[in-house]
């Protein structure tokens, strides 16, 4: 009996520690400034205001930063899906010389400490005139998400019995047709999950966005904007927290969509963005 009480208390503590910072962020975003600046904090949403969201949205460049982030993250993910799908198919379905070396290479690429490559990528971008372009960021994010996209897609592909495809081949489909008609529909949830995780990685990336976009401030992305938000707005914590909440929203939605099985499927693949 005491064991059960103990477990319940432990569970509630874990839950509180996990959730509190996020709760505090959202709560602050909705609090009137006088409540934020009071000596004793209020822990419940007693009075609510949308003023801080107004400040965040009205901030200069807000919409162009959203657009930039969407373009860069979306572009990177689409590119990664396309390239990874081909490679994942080769790895999961075909036997060929060098397959093991290739898979190992992908695993190693997945572990690349990207921050160590800030300097050469900056230099390369500069040499090729790609500095201050969203294209360069898209390419970098594509590369960052590619390895784990291959690994997870390979996992999803491997879970689809090859017999189904072979049956289609026997029925006179070409390999491409068999893939399109049989494998692709079954793979769709995997593709969705993988691309959403790739999207999150790209959506969150800060270091490269901070280094590669310097001159043209209009081409900045949301994470960079958010990190500079405090400097711009001084100690306007309400606006800062509102901006953070807005920034987190798409990712949160993705996790809600992904909930449950798909999430654990990705976890099973032991992938981390």
């Amino acid at each position: 009996m005491t064991g059960r009480v103990l477990r319940t208390v432990a569970a509630l503590v874990v839950f509180a520690v996990a959730v509190f910072p996020v709760y505090w962020m959202v709560l602050t975003a909705f609090k009137p400034t006088k409540d934020i600046q009071s000596a004793t904090p209020t822990f419940l949403p007693i009075s609510i205001t949308f003023e801080h969201f107004g400040t965040a949205v009205a901030a200069q460049g807000f919409f162009s930063f959203w657009r930039n982030s969407l373009l860069v993250a979306g572009g990177a993910v689409l590119l990664a899906l396309l390239v990874a799908l081909l490679a994942a198919y080769a790895v999961a379905r075909l036997r060929w010389r060098g397959r093991r070396a290739f898979v190992l290479m992908v695993f190693i690429a997945q572990m690349t400490p990207w921050e160590a490559l800030l300097i050469p990528i900056y230099v390369i971008a500069r040499d090729t005139g790609m500095l201050d372009t969203l294209w360069m960021l898209t390419l970098v994010y594509f590369m960052i998400t590619l390895p784990f996209t291959i690994v997870t897609l390979r996992g999803f592909l491997a879970a689809i019995p090859p017999d189904l495809e072979e049956a289609a081949l026997v029925d006179g489909c070409s390999r491409g047709q068999a893939f399109r008609r049989v494998v692709f529909p079954l793979l769709a949830p995997g593709l969705l999950a993988t691309s959403l995780f790739g999207f999150i990685t790209a959506w969150n990336e800060f270091a490269f966005a901070n280094v590669l976009i310097i001159k043209d401030q209009d081409d900045r992305t949301l994470p960079v904007w958010l990190s500079s938000f405090q400097n711009t707005f001084g100690t306007d914590w309400g606006a800062t927290m509102a901006a953070s909440t807005l920034f987190m929203l798409p990712v949160l939605l993705i996790f809600v969509v992904l909930q449950g099985r798909v999430t654990t499927g990705i976890v099973g693949g032991a992938v981390k963005g």
Binding site: P21, A109, I119, I121
Partner: protein, 310 residues
């Protein structure tokens, strides 16, 4: 594996197509990786052997200087302080992460359905919090005058924390960064470990319990040995993730106050950015990669073996 084609039987067109197909399929991956990953890495190695400051960046006439950059970095006491700090930072974080995640995973195993869903939901929420958003929130939690942490500590009777400026104190900032990284990392590790623990057959636990084994014995004789590979994998992923943690540190403290939170990636960036010594920065980042490779060599061996069995 493709069998070598014997000259006696000329390959049918279908057959030849299948030999080429896999290589066609991986070609885009190989080409883009070569350009966007291998080339920057090679470029980094080259820069680390050159004199490459702002003038060379502008003029593009960098001279090779052999190991001069490495010699300079390795002779610098500052660098070794940063290495020690990075090792500390990594060790503290990874130990805490693995310990807490294991406890949370074990807890999840023993919770009823609703509490388990509640805790898992909380973990997923934390996991979903973007690094930048979480970093900003932690700045807000530990804000000196309005921060809820100071309020809590003062309410508990620790009067000295009234208006305490956490980010002016090196050790305090270090501690907050550890808290932030651990908070961000536990959900992934705990959920993965839980997902793995669920796969252990329950009969093993039952028979152990019938034999009178306590919780610790069950864990050390059944759970851990069965999930050794998973524990190893997650530890490795966390090591990589913590060593290269850059954004949190950069946004919260930029490595300060003083140098008290400067770890290797931050140091490489500082040297390159503020001193405009891209050559030294490249050398530091190469040394960091080397350190990681050494730390993970054992893991690569396991991966290689697994891939052979697959």
């Amino acid at each position: 594996m493709e069998r070598p084609v014997t000259p006696a039987a000329p390959p049918a067109p279908q057959r030849r197509k299948r030999v080429v197909l896999p290589y066609l399929l991986i070609a885009p991956t190989v080409l883009t990786t070569a350009y966007l990953l291998v080339y920057p890495l090679v470029r980094n190695v080259i820069i680390s052997f050159q004199r490459f400051g702002l003038p060379e960046l502008v003029r593009g006439d960098a001279q090779f200087v052999g190991f001069a950059n490495y010699a300079k970095v390795l002779a610098d006491a500052e660098f070794w302080a940063v290495v020690r700090r990075t090792l500390w930072f990594t060790a503290i974080n990874v130990v805490l992460i693995m310990l807490l995640s294991t406890l949370v995973a074990l807890l999840l195993m023993r919770l009823g359905k609703w509490l388990r869903l509640l805790v898992m939901g909380g973990l997923v929420l934390t996991w979903a919090t973007p690094i930048i958003a979480a970093t900003t929130v932690f700045q807000w939690l530990f804000q000196s005058r309005l921060g809820v942490v100071n309020w809590l500590l003062v309410s508990l009777g620790f009067e000295e924390y009234r208006d305490y400026t956490w980010f002016a104190n090196g050790e305090a900032t270090f501690g907050i960064l550890v808290g932030l990284v651990v908070w961000q990392s536990v959900p992934f590790a705990a959920l993965s470990l839980y997902a793995a623990m669920v796969t252990v057959p329950t009969e093993l636990y039952e028979s152990a319990r019938i034999d009178g084994a306590g919780a610790w014995r069950v864990f050390s004789t059944i759970t851990f040995p069965m999930l050794r590979a998973m524990f190893g994998l997650i530890t490795c992923l966390e090591v990589i993730w913590v060593v290269k943690a850059f954004v949190q540190i950069w946004v919260i403290s930029q490595g300060g106050p003083g140098q008290s939170t400067t770890t290797l990636p931050v140091y490489a960036f500082q040297v390159a950015q503020s001193l405009q010594r891209y050559d030294l920065g490249a050398a530091v980042s190469m040394l960091m990669v080397l350190l990681l490779v050494i730390a993970l060599l054992a893991y690569f061996r396991v991966l290689y073996r697994q891939e052979r069995e697959a």
